[in-house]
């Protein structure tokens, strides 16, 4: 199938330029005072300050570092859990039902527990990030393994694969298209989790900068950090996951 995709880049540019222009005009009209509704220029200035003194990059790096560790824990734990749930029915019936329940808890609801267990530390933030992401990875891995064409498994066993060999050489790659969506969802939960947790109890990180902006009544800092959070999310979604997904889908012959 050939998908002819119209190139909408000019429309996109016009749209964003339009937003900024309207925003600038509204702020110049002066309905709201500057400290409540800053102009795009002020927000950009704020970003430039943050970039110049390094605090912005340091915040990004801190959040990304926490996210990476949390997500790595969620992915490795979720994949193992999902495989066991799919292959061992008693685990599915017991642990699996708990996983479904836990998935409905918003990451932020883990913050009090994280503080009590880990104190106001990186450990607490990583815990919130990981626990918010792990169940999405688990459930997608489970679904992926359950949906493997049984012929793959039979052929592999017939050719001598067993135990961990079977898991590594067949179950994981065969379930990979599903696992990718699990990672993508997991990343989205982790990103929300890390920012949320930082907002509530951290020093350093983008969530902290957001909260710092609030306590200083600095609306342009708040808005500038929100823009950074949005852009990073967008970039990781499109650059990392879309690419990975497309590659996997075509390789696995699903496209």
């Amino acid at each position: 199938m050939i998908i002819i995709r119209k190139n909408f880049i000019p429309h996109k540019i016009a749209f964003y330029v339009g937003i900024i222009v309207v925003w600038q005009i509204v702020s110049m009209v002066g309905i709201w005072p500057d400290n409540i509704f800053p102009s795009p220029y002020e927000v950009a200035e704020d970003l430039a300050y943050g970039a110049a003194d390094g605090s912005l990059f340091y915040g990004i790096a801190t959040s990304m570092w926490r996210l990476s560790i949390g997500l790595a824990i969620a992915i490795s734990g979720g994949v193992v859990l999902g495989i066991f749930m799919a292959r061992v029915e008693v685990i599915n019936q017991t642990v699996g039902s708990l996983v479904l329940g836990m998935q409905s808890i918003p990451s932020i609801a883990w913050v009090p527990l994280a503080i009590l267990w880990f104190g106001l530390s990186d450990g607490g933030i990583i815990f919130v990030t990981a626990i918010g992401a792990i169940f999405a990875v688990t459930i997608n891995t489970y679904t992926g393994v359950k949906n493997i064409d049984p012929h793959y498994i039979e052929a592999a066993r017939n050719m001598g694969a067993k135990g961990s060999q079977l898991i590594i050489a067949v179950l994981i790659p065969a379930a990979f298209p599903y696992m990718i969506s699990g990672f993508k969802q997991g990343w989205a939960f982790a990103w929300r989790g890390v920012i949320g947790a930082e907002l509530l109890f951290s020093f350093l990180g983008l969530g902290f900068l957001l909260n710092a902006g609030r306590s200083l009544n600095d609306v342009s800092q708040v808005i500038s950090i929100m823009i950074v959070i949005m852009v990073i999310g967008l970039v990781i979604d499109t650059v990392v996951f879309k690419k990975l997904e497309n590659k996997v889908m075509s390789r696995w012959g699903l496209q």
Binding site: D149, H151, Y152, E154, N158, M159, A169, V170, R251
Partner: protein, 254 residues
Amino acid sequence: MTKLEAKNIVKHFSHESHKLTALGGINLKVEAGDFVCLVGPSGCGKSTFLRIIAGLEKPDEGQILFDGHPVTETSPERIMVFQEGALFPWLKVQDNVEFGLKMAGIPKEERAKISNRYLDMMQLTKFANSYTYQLSTGMKQRVAIARALVMDPDVLLMDEPFASLDAQTRDLLLVEMQLIWEKTKKTILFVTHNVAEATVLGTKIVVFSNRPAIIKKEFENNFPRPRVTEDESLLKLQQDILAELRPEVKKSRE
């Protein structure tokens, strides 16, 4: 020398409301180097029988003797080629072909040496680095056959491997299958619903009855090779087989 012996193989399946007996007591002796073609109405249990020989499924009664020993589990000595090929889409052609060797812990250089030989035999060398989605159905079947041959199995179990091929590709593979069999002297069990295909390939053609399946009749086939589907000398045999098969197909549709 008897390579395989099926002794009174019975297999039931339980469906929601009822029990279905697929195999009603199959008795079959396969000599080493035989090329046995199995024909029978669809749904009579041919695939199930192959899977039991492969050790992927357990019979409810009876047993399979392989070199005189009862089959208890699956093993690379009896390799199955599935109708759908069951190739791994995440691996390149060469890695698909080497899969079993890798599982057996054979080092990379040696694997490459062995797989190159079979890639060459199946005219796949140019496609060694392709992924399976880039191949035609005929090419995929060649990869599936190469992947099986690489294991150097005593017995090849082929479940309608040519069913989804176009006529030209099938004719080509029918010639190649005969060459492979002559070259490697493998014992082959080959399920097909195509009687002409069975008479081209088989040294022996076995007709399964409708469910619960038993072996209705066995035909010897010693016509000289290479054979092709249009061989007039095969016509008489084909008609005899069809005469046994037709009533069973009819029963299976009632």
